[in-house]
């Protein structure tokens, strides 16, 4: 009898890229619902626009590179990029801002560097940084969360859609009427005008740790992240590194001068910390690759987030922190190679 040949092993792997990416998407679903509850349907519109442009960009680039579009879209990686971009942008963002971020992320940061697996920079963060620099006004426009304020105006689906499509609000609404500083922004400017953090924290817009409402989104993102950890889709090294890198310096500063510095808990539950720790920094392609290297990479991101929030001119520093650490990956990878079994030091045989 004759048989087909193939190389060992003869047991098929169970995991696949598409299922990993799908589970990342599932992990963000609860946070999406909470986000929509607090800020309206803007996130969903942003997601749809980002998905459209990410998939379009991916398909176009695969076509241009003469590769299979079906395979590239089948791995869901472009959709994950789109969803993270949507989470990073404010709920009310004109479509062209979202589209620019999506296209830059997919076309330039991902495909011009060689496509999935070869990109140096996290595509979502690269796209986000571009619009952060190009459209600062739009990126600083945050609305108030639905937390029962007296002067609160809940933006309707229609108003959101109108702003998303045209970049303007209906005549009866002005931007000033509904915009609010994000907690990070508010705390930063209050600290710079000689308020103590205790005073700031007493403001009703502040919750237990982060801003009221805002911190619940962080909680749900963290829950999704913990679920990914339990499912072993991501490992603990990067998230723990990010937390350590953020909490150790902010904790030290807070212990030394509690008045002049925001609490570590505030930093942990504000802005993009949780999204970054569990969903952005853990992007395997652009992260360091050895377990030890990943921890170092996480610590670097955490520390840079703190440094930018505390001393930089941007309210949040997640995207810059990730991009900067992406650049450090080759060095980290080189310096944190694990000791190979049977070698005393790396690349050295025992006794040699």
């Amino acid at each position: 009898m004759e048989f087909a040949r193939r190389d060992a092993p003869f047991i098929a792997p169970k995991a696949n890229v598409a299922s990993i990416m799908r589970q990342v998407l599932y992990a963000l679903m609860p946070a999406t619902i909470v986000y929509v509850w607090f800020f309206g349907a803007g996130l969903v519109f942003n997601m749809l626009i980002a998905i459209m442009f990410c998939i379009g960009g991916e398909a176009g680039m695969m076509l241009a590179r003469g590769k299979s579009i079906r395979v590239a879209l089948g791995d869901f990686s472009a959709i994950v990029t789109a969803i993270i971009i949507a989470f990073a942008l404010p709920p009310l963002t004109p479509w062209w801002v979202t589209a620019t971020a999506a296209l830059f992320g997919i076309v330039v940061a991902k495909h011009l560097y060689g496509g999935l697996g070869f990109n140096i920079f996290n595509p979502a963060m690269a796209g986000y940084v571009v619009v952060l620099v190009a459209f600062p006004v739009h990126l600083n426009f945050w609305v108030a969360p639905r937390i029962g304020d007296l002067d609160y105006h809940y933006v309707t689906i229609f108003e959101t859609l109108s702003y998303t499509l045209t970049g303007t609000l209906p005549d009866y609404l002005t931007i000033d009427a509904i915009s609010r500083a994000s907690p990070l922004d508010a705390v930063k400017s209050a600290l710079s005008t000689m308020h103590t953090f205790a005073e700031i924290h007493a403001n009703p817009m502040m919750g237990d740790f982060g801003g009221r409402g805002w911190e619940w989104i962080s909680n749900y993102i963290a829950m999704g992240g913990v679920w990914l950890l339990l499912k072993r889709i991501i490992r603990w090294h990067i998230p723990l590194g990010v937390f350590a890198g953020l909490l150790v310096p902010s904790g030290l500063m807070y212990l030394i001068e509690a008045g002049n510095h925001a609490s570590p808990g505030f930093y942990l539950f504000s802005g993009g910390t949780m999204l970054c720790a569990f969903f952005v920094a853990t992007d395997p392609v652009s992260a360091a690759t050895s377990p030890r290297g990943r921890f170092v990479y996480g610590v670097g991101i955490g520390f840079l987030i703190y440094a930018i929030r505390r001393w930089g001119s941007y309210a949040d520093g997640v995207a810059f922190a990730v991009i900067l650490m992406n650049m450090a990956v080759p060095a980290i990878d080189y310096l944190t190679r694990p000791r190979i079994v049977g070698h005393i030091k790396h690349g050295k045989a025992p006794g040699a």
């Binding site: 003869f10 890229v17 050895s290 190979i340």
Partner: protein, 509 residues
């Protein structure tokens, strides 16, 4: 009896994987009858081929030497049954690269008559080390765990190093395979008897029998015989069920908590590892006079109707064995010789069972293999690598053919266990890629060595020519000098000589 111990070393990574062992270990080992024809390859071991010592047409008896060991690393081959040598010709065998190898083909007479022993069996305790090594060599015994290194030579090499432990490897961590499990259940006395002989031969005072914890029956059987033997030099170690705990260096690491240095051998940390099947084979030869002419092998997989373990004569074809166990199912895809992680797929079942064949695995198409996708550097491979390599980096450098980086990242330390393949979400055939990169690197090293040799030869050649030229110049100079010093007399002499010659020679015109 020593209690099972759990004081084990650490193994990095590894995999808990589907065992699929209960397919084949539900019934006792079955004896495959003498086939009509035996196809016995003359090289069934690592090292130099054996030399054929029988002619075509010659009648041979079971256990008769048909090819003798030849070279520093080699092992003899014996006839597995009685009959007539009908041909010595190339035949398909299971090698990594496929192809044919020279085999002795014996038409069996069915009588299965054994040859008389050339010397009576003497108790091994009365034999010296050297004689015992020679005897083990004559038995054609090789490592039955799959590596088929000639046992005598492994022992000889080990005996000149300081040794602490003999480790009997009964771990058998690959899915599907149960031949060592069944051997330990049924022939634990032979296994431990072999251990005693090996300890005597090596002069070691301690032996670990390492068995994976998912083989309670085998552990009991070994423990029972240990109680009966009352030999306190032998200790049983239960090894956690994690693949690849049975790979030689990993076994040493688990049992003794010492790492075998890169490029080294277990003897560097005072250990000799022998498979339990090898120990049993040594026992049967030394104490019963039966050379290595049969072995237990697992016949299993979804592709056959009745998986089981069989004891078959070396040289029985896979087709005969499959027939004996009841034949194939309808849906057969791959025939694998060896386990599902490290075995080789072959294209035909005409190949013979050899000393290395611990498993015949017939796969249906139930196992679906996906298409290779780009590496996303998730690092799942690095977390399971038992040698703590970074397969994702190795893969990168293997694609780029970057030899220096491949060396630096320890490609040569890869044990090709296949763990990385199994966890790769991009379904990249990493082990196959690494195997290829290693072969390329070896080739490159060979080429370099060849280039170096020819460079040396060329330089020697030029040097020689220069020396000759110089010598000639010196001689010429010396002659000129002589001519000058001799002055006109010398010239006259020469002229005279030539003119005389002319006068004597009538010439043609």
């Amino acid at each position: 009896m020593s209690a099972p111990t759990f004081d084990l070393g650490n193994l990095h990574g590894g995999l808990r994987m589907p065992r699929r062992k209960d397919k084949s270990n539900k019934q006792p080992i079955q004896q495959v009858p003498v086939p009509q024809q035996l196809i016995i390859p003359i090289t069934q071991h690592v090292g130099d081929p054996a030399q054929v010592v029988v002619g075509i047409g010659e009648r041979v008896l079971k256990g008769q030497l048909i090819a003798e060991s030849d070279g520093p690393i080699s092992a003899p081959v014996h006839a597995s049954s009685s009959g007539k040598v009908v041909a010595i010709e190339p035949w398909p065998v299971s090698r990594r690269l496929g192809g044919n190898a020279p085999c002795i083909i014996i038409e069996c007479d069915g009588e299965d008559r054994a040859i008389e022993l050339s010397e009576p069996i003497t108790p091994y305790e009365s034999l010296d080390q050297e004689i015992l090594f020679q005897k083990i060599l004559q038995g054609g015994i090789v490592g039955l765990g799959g590596a088929v290194f000639p046992t005598a030579q492994k022992l000889m090499h080990a005996s000149i190093t300081p040794l602490e432990h003999l480790v009997l490897n009964g771990i058998e961590c690959e899915p599907y395979i149960t031949c060592d499990d069944m051997l330990m259940r049924e022939q634990a006395n032979e296994v431990l008897g072999g251990a005693q002989i090996l300890m005597h031969a090596l002069g070691v005072e301690h032996c670990f029998v390492a068995v994976e914890s998912d083989k309670p029956e085998a552990i009991h059987a070994i423990a029972d015989v240990m109680t009966a033997l009352q030999d306190d030099r032998i200790a049983l170690k239960q090894i956690p069920t994690i693949y690849p705990s049975g790979a030689e260096d990993q076994t040493v690491q688990l049992v003794t908590n010492k790492e075998v240095p890169t490029g080294g051998l277990p003897t560097d940390v005072g250990c000799v590892v022998q498979n339990v099947g090898t120990a049993a084979a040594v026992y049967r030869w030394i104490c019963k006079g039966e050379p290595l002419i049969s072995r237990v092998t697992t016949v299993t997989g979804d592709g056959i109707t009745a998986p089981m373990n069989v004891s078959a004569r070396i040289g029985t074809t896979v087709a005969d064995i499959i027939n004996f166990v009841g034949g194939y199912t309808e849906n057969v895809h791959h025939l694998v010789i060896g386990g599902p992680m490290t075995g080789r797929s072959v294209t035909t079942d005409r190949i013979p069972l050899v000393k290395a064949t611990n498993c015949i695995l017939v796969m249906s198409d139930e196992e679906q293999f996906g298409h290779e996708q780009p590496c996303i550097r998730c690092g799942a491979c690095a977390s399971v690598c038992p040698v703590q390599l970074l397969p994702q980096q190795l893969f990168w450098y293997a694609c780029a053919d970057n030899e220096a980086k491949l060396r630096g990242y320890g490609l040569m330390d890869c044990i090709e266990c296949g763990c990385c393949d199994l966890v790769c979400p991009s379904h990249i055939p990493l082990t196959a890629d690494f195997r290829m990169a290693k072969a390329r690197m070896r080739e490159l090293a060979d080429e370099k060595a060849r280039a170096e040799r020819s460079r040396q030869r060329y330089e020697a050649h030029t040097e020689r020519l220069e020396k000759e030229q110089m010598l000639r110049a010196q001689q010429l100079e010396a002659q000129k000098q002589a001519a000058r010093e001799g002055g006109s007399k010398a010239i006259r002499d020469i002229l005279e000589r030539t003119s005389k010659k002319d006068a004597q020679d009538p010439g043609e015109d």
